[in-house]
């Protein structure tokens, strides 16, 4: 029961990151590796602000803004610099490693005695054991609904057409370069926001916390898609959150089975490989 609550909390907070990955991988069809840098970027910005006594709500906002800037740079490298999508993301991610260290000033920042967003919420009278769950449920679903709505607007249609058929998009007056930059910014903004929340949730930010974020995000999107399909946008974003929960649950189970925490990246990778190749295996049979 306790493990289930933890998996739910983690599934939701990392689910915000997975929604960001959904925007680039599924909507925009752009393999964005900025993720591994923008996730710790959000954590770094928020934790250093909070560590120094800043307002944690403002810290979340600034973390998201920093993530958007990172996504924007990947987009500019790809569209203006004519660098392939994959490499653009890798370049930004690598640069962010140094930038994140600069922001934090050291390899990790602990928030144990700092006033985080959770301190505030507890002071509003939410009992300690529900603080995380309450905030994460509200935030994750609010973002999911906002994203659903955005993808149904005129600009949202333009973003989806850019990923679905760029030639058609341009033939209908859509600036596909602008749309890519917009999608990457939104995606990395959400990912950095998730990083900022995770840092406060676990009580520290660490320079290495971004490693493998993209694979975890992908795992969530794919698991969700396999379980619930992608009939509509509303369903696909819900499936992504659900996939994130299942993913964290399986990680929890793996730990309980006696796997070392350091083995989890390998396990995740194997999980993604199985998930990605299963339909093909099924087709072969």
């Amino acid at each position: 029961m306790f493990g289930l609550i933890t998996a739910l909390e983690q599934g939701l907070v990392f689910g915000i990151m997975a929604l960001g990955v959904y925007i680039t991988f599924k909507v925009l069809d752009f393999p964005d590796l900025t993720v591994d840098g923008s996730f710790p970027l959000g954590a770094a910005v928020a934790s250093i602000m909070i560590f120094n006594g800043g307002n944690p709500f403002l810290a979340l906002f600034l973390a998201a803004a920093a993530g958007m800037a990172a996504g924007c740079i990947t987009g500019l490298l790809n569209t203006r610099g004519k660098i392939t999508g994959l490499l653009s993301g890798i370049l930004t991610m690598t640069a962010l490693y140094s930038i994140n260290l600069r922001i934090m000033g050291r390899a990790n920042v602990t928030l144990l005695n700092a006033r985080t967003i959770f301190t505030y919420i507890e002071e509003w009278g939410v009992p300690h054991r529900w603080v995380f769950l309450a905030l994460f449920i509200i935030t994750a679903f609010l973002i999911k609904v906002l994203l659903d709505c955005f993808l149904k607007t005129q600009i949202g249609f333009a973003l989806r057409a850019t990923g679905d058929n760029p030639e058609m998009a341009r033939a209908n007056g859509i600036n596909t370069d602008t749309m890519k930059i917009l999608g990457l910014s939104l995606s990395n903004g959400l990912i950095a926001l998730s990083g900022a929340l995770v840092a406060q949730y676990q009580g520290f930010a660490d320079i290495g916390m971004g490693i493998g974020t993209i694979v975890a995000g992908l795992a969530s999107v794919i698991i969700g898609e396999m379980m619930l399909g992608e009939r509509s946008i509303c369903m696909a974003t819900f499936a992504t959150l659900m996939g994130s929960f299942i993913y964290r649950l399986s990680i929890g189970i793996a730990l309980r089975l006696g796997f070392a925490a350091t083995d989890l990246k390998l396990l995740t990778t194997v999980l993604v490989i199985i998930a990605l190749s299963t339909p093909k295996i099924r087709n072969l049979l």
Binding site: T153, F157, D164, M168, N172
Partner: protein, 267 residues
């Protein structure tokens, strides 16, 4: 209305593969012209349309639309007043989006896209009526994903998308070539209906000489990057396929030996 002055397009300039695809093209298109373009493979027909649409920049020359120099205007901006239908039915629609979403994208073609809802019931009603006119039965499938449609249905949809907001210019690049004969006939009829009803200035590439003669008020034949024939008005309406072949051989100074061009409609 549309004017090309000395337009030249060279692929792989300065290499051993240098290929002059358009050679000093001069063309004046009048308002309301419906021009069919024929020519053998490699004559430069598709490149001509792509250069007008802004897919590639030109190496020399200028393109004017309604007196405005659009030579350097990027593709997506030209798309605000130029509609296009491609040969490949997959190219003109967004497959994972629904029919109504595709039409809604076309609806915003010449206006600024905002955070308003992309669709509403008023728009859906408008789309339903437009689709009903095509007689393809798509009006009851507004929320179907486009990837579920057949090639002909997708091409009809692309035609509606391209003309949803009346374009100044409609470019059709062998848009029936990938379809079976009866579907091709249906799309051709729909094309004529929309173009004539709305009075859209149109350039249409076809590989079918009979269609080229039957449709439109003007016929252009291209060869080796140049316009070798330009037939208008009553000269065109009385034209026969044999006469056209003769005129081509005279103009191009060689035998007409193109297998791909169909002398007669196949249906």
């Amino acid at each position: 209305m549309l004017e090309l002055k000395g337009v030249t397009k060279i692929f792989n300039a300065g290499t051993v593969n240098e290929n002059v695809v358009l050679r000093d093209i001069n063309l004046k298109v009048d308002e309301g012209d419906f021009i069919s373009i024929i020519g053998s493979n490699g004559a430069g027909k598709s490149t001509l349309l792509n250069v007008i649409a802004g897919v590639y920049p030109v190496d020399k020359g200028t393109i004017l639309l309604d007196g405005r120099d659009i030579t350097r205007v990027p593709e997506h901006e030209r798309a605000r007043f130029i509609g296009r239908v491609f040969q490949d039915p997959m190219k003109g629609t967004a497959p994972s989006m629904t029919i109504e979403e595709n039409l809604a994208i076309a609806y915003c073609r010449s206006s600024r896209r905002t955070l308003q809802w992309g669709l509403n019931n008023k728009l859906r009603e408008e789309f339903r009526q437009k689709l009903a006119e095509t007689g393809l039965g798509l009006e009851n499938r507004l929320n179907y994903k486009v990837k579920l449609l057949s090639g002909g249905q997708r091409q009809a949809l692309t035609l509606i998308i391209a003309t949803m907001v009346k374009p100044k210019l409609l470019l059709l690049d062998e848009h029936t070539a990938a379809l079976d004969p009866s579907t091709a006939r249906l799309i051709n009829n729909l094309t004529e209906k929309i173009v004539l009803q709305k009075g859209i200035t149109t350039l249409m590439i076809t590989h079918n000489m009979e269609h080229a003669i039957k449709m439109g008020n003007r016929l252009i034949m291209m060869d080796k990057g140049q316009i070798v024939l330009d037939i208008k008005g009553s000269d065109k309406s009385s034209l026969t396929v044999n006469e056209l072949v003769g005129m081509f051989e005279q103009a191009a100074q060689r035998k007409f030996d193109e297998d791909r061009i169909m002398l007669r409609a196949s249906s």
